[in-house]
């Protein structure tokens, strides 16, 4: 778990021990849940525990994704945040104010000023034009007509719908309708955006386009977004942090990489095995420290010794500031030693394959395939941050987490592949070189 110390300055939404139970005497059900009654046992007595003891914090300016299958309670959770549902127990702070104790009127003010929402099936008003839909939040606030229209137009332009103001939602395609939904939320000017499976009803290409647009907008606007999805790829793509939810409980909170590489339990592990890891993991997340580095001033003998000691066929050469100069190869070094050269300058390969730490594995795949030596991961100033051998890359792509094979099936999930779960953990092995590829364990 990676919940940071809770602090109101950076946490815009903060839930502590949140419960939502539907049914008779919900408070008694909460007590039973606290004492260890399971969700299924509770269901037998006619109560449905939608959210159980959820604690999380959404930081100002981040995209926080709640990921779970249907019935995991994620939709209920998001509806607690804007008061569409009342929590049964626990506290929920929005910008420091506890939503749970507010009167309907105060709650409406919070919805008008702080939290807006984008819906799965768009929930546009069919009898209002695109502009009137986008202006709805401001209309409810009784903003003045000119301001309403100006800000709605601005929001529509932001999502690329200028020129469509006078159309009716029924005349628009699905993707465009959801952009109206997004514009409606943006126009109301709230800092928090709740997005309830906002892109799930769209076909995959449009969905991807919308995700790009959302990330683009987020870079410009820096809103705080609570995004709900059942699509793990979407969660990994969008989320600065992700909360994995199952059967009403949050089972893990972390970055995409933390969840992929260090799943908290079997459930998460099973889940992430279907993720397109190539598009989620970055070079920086899988790179390793080079076993040995050669200073650019060193001679062939030093290089030869280092190679022998570490059983390496090549070395990365760096300058005083650890900036990458190039690579030297075993054969060249041996030749130089034989000829008693005392300078490496001539034999340094100065154009080794380099990648940036932020690149995804998909982006570095072809570089890795073409390079005879591990890829060098460098930062903007050319400093060597780490290396990625082919085996590391392949391992990362095929890796399914670090947990043991589950002994029982995980319900709610289809097709757990036992053999792929059994693969041992994160890319390891101190010795990393191109030759060691053959020994790569795996199911790749």
């Amino acid at each position: 778990m990676t919940d940071d110390p809770l602090s109101p300055e950076i946490n815009l939404i903060e839930a502590r021990g949140l419960f939502k139970v539907f049914g008779q005497s919900p408070m008694a059900s909460v007590e039973r849940l606290r004492q260890g009654t399971s969700r299924d046992e509770l269901r037998e007595s006619g109560s449905t525990a939608a959210v159980i003891d959820a604690s999380f914090a959404v930081r100002r300016g981040e995209i926080f994704v709640v990921m779970g299958l249907s019935g995991s309670g994620k939709s209920t959770l998001i509806r607690l945040v804007n008061g569409l549902l009342d929590p049964t127990a626990g506290s929920l702070l929005v910008d420091g104010e506890d939503i749970a104790g507010l009167s309907p009127k105060q709650l409406r003010r919070v919805c008008q000023d702080k939290v807006s929402m984008v819906f799965q099936h768009f929930a546009l008003f069919p009898h209002r034009t695109v502009l009137e839909n986008a202006a709805y939040g401001l209309e409810v606030k009784r903003a003045d007509k000119h301001e309403r229209s100006a800000r709605a137009r601005e929001a529509l332009a932001m999502v690329g719908l200028d020129g469509w103001e006078d159309y009716l939602p029924g005349e628009l395609s699905g993707g465009m309708r959801q952009r109206v939904g997004l514009a409606r939320a943006l126009a109301s000017g709230t800092e928090i955006l709740l997005m309830d499976e906002a892109f799930s009803a769209l076909d995959p290409l449009i969905r991807r386009e919308m995700q790009d647009q959302l990330m683009d907008l987020q870079q410009r606007l820096g809103r705080t977004i609570l995004f709900i999805t059942h699509d793990l790829n979407e969660a990994m793509r969008l989320g600065d942090r992700i909360a994995m939810m199952r059967d009403g409980r949050i089972v893990q909170i972390g970055t995409a990489e933390q969840i992929l590489n260090d799943p908290a339990n079997d459930y998460v592990a099973q889940f992430v095995q279907d993720v397109d890891r190539a598009r989620v993991l970055t070079a920086a997340s899988i790179m390793e420290q080079p076993v040995a580095l050669l200073g650019s001033g060193a001679g062939p003998r030093a290089a030869h010794k280092l190679m022998r000691e570490n059983q390496l066929a090549h070395l990365f050469v760096v300058d005083r500031h650890r900036r990458l100069v190039g690579t030297v190869h075993e054969a060249d070094v041996a030749e130089a030693v034989k000829r008693a050269h005392d300078d490496l300058t001539d034999i340094i390969d100065r154009s080794p394959a380099t990648v940036q730490g932020s690149m995804t594995l998909a982006e570095i795949l072809s570089d890795s395939a073409e390079s005879s030596v591990p890829l060098a991961v460098i930062n903007e100033s050319g400093r060597l941050l780490g290396v990625i051998a082919k085996v590391t890359l392949l391992n990362a792509l095929s890796d399914n987490g670090t947990v043991d094979a589950p002994d029982s099936g995980v319900d709610g999930l289809s097709g757990p592949h036992a053999e792929s779960v059994a693969v041992p953990g994160t890319p390891t092995g101190p010795l990393v070189s191109a030759e060691s590829m053959n020994s790569s364990g795996g199911d790749s």
Binding site: R79, N82, L84, L107, R108, R109, V110, C111, Q112, D113, V115, S116, M117, F119, Q120, H121, A123, L124, F125, P126, H127, R128, Y136, G137, E139, V140, K141, L168, P169, G170, E171, R184, S188, L194
Partner: protein, 292 residues
């Protein structure tokens, strides 16, 4: 001697009578107010409609029909109402029209709030439903008895009986329309901080308008069908004509009166239908079906 004979005779009818008598004895101010207001409204409208020259009224009605629906409907209106005038039924038709309009407005005025209450609360709905069933299936003549007690012979009794008879479809269709509004629409309103009134007035009612208008249409049709029965209690108008035709076995007069009712009915039915089609949400639905 069957076992049911052990049950003492329940005085259901007498109980109802005492309720009616209690109202008559204890709420005279209410009855008087209703009587005054309704009488005034019908008379004003009736006088207004007959005061305007016949041709002007006919042309105005035809123009409305043309504008709201089609030129063909305008032509129908013109022909129909000229026929009414030609049959010497003009004044009677206008007083029936006045009665129908007042009764329909009153019925919708009562039905919409009841429908809203029913849509908001299942408990209210459970109470309203059997009441509506009773009002709709009780033979219409039965309403005449208590209304005669309250308001005696005249147009007010006719209006009140008509209102009671016409309310049920208004309530039912209002409730149905509001309940049919997609729950996500209401959530969207609430999520942006709309008050219950804002949700009702700006989202629910506009979206339910086609169904509510169907209710208005039904209310008007039922009101028209009560016109003849209202004629029996002295409400005058076309009802009076038809009733006279029946009692005196005057076939031609009875038929002409009935024909005038039909012409009025078709006019009002098509007109309210056209109004429903002009609701923004109906336009939105057409747009969608055209796009898909």
């Amino acid at each position: 001697m069957g076992p049911l004979d052990a049950l003492p005779r329940l005085q259901v009818g007498d109980a109802f009578t005492s309720v009616v008598e209690w109202i008559e004895g204890n709420l005279p101010w209410l009855l008087d107010t209703i009587k005054t207001v309704l009488k005034w409204a019908v008379n004003q409208l009736d006088t207004g409609l007959t005061y305007i020259p016949v041709l002007v009224t006919i042309l105005a009605l035809a123009a409305i029909g043309w504008y709201l629906r089609s030129w063909a409907f305008g032509v129908y209106t013109l022909g129909g109402f000229v026929l009414i005038a030609n049959m010497d039924m003009w004044d009677e038709s206008m007083s029936s029209l006045a009665l129908v309009i007042v009764a329909s407005v009153c019925a919708m005025g009562i039905a919409v709030p009841l429908g809203v209450a029913g849509a908001r609360s299942h408990n209210v709905s459970r109470i309203i439903r059997p009441l509506m069933d009773m009002m709709q299936t009780m033979p219409a003549f039965v309403y005449l008895i208590p209304t005669l007690f309250f308001f005696s012979i005249g147009v007010v009794s006719g209006v009140v009986a008509t209102v009671v008879f016409a309310i049920p479809p208004g309530v039912r269709l209002t409730e149905l329309g509001l309940r049919q509004v997609d729950g996500e629409m209401l959530e969207a309103g609430q999520a942006f901080g709309a008050s219950p009134w804002q949700v009702l007035s700006r989202i629910q009612i506009p979206l339910a308008l086609p169904t509510i208008m169907a209710g208005v249409n039904q209310v008007i049709m039922l009101s028209l069908s009560m016109v003849v029965i209202a004629g029996m209690v002295g409400a005058g108008g076309l009802g009076g004509v038809v009733y006279e035709g029946v009692t005196r076995l005057n076939l031609s007069k009875g038929f002409e009166g009935g024909l005038a009712v039909v012409i009025l009915a078709i006019y009002l039915d098509r007109l309210t239908g056209a109004l429903a089609d002009r609701a923004p949400v109906a336009r939105a639905l057409r747009v969608r079906s055209a796009a898909e």
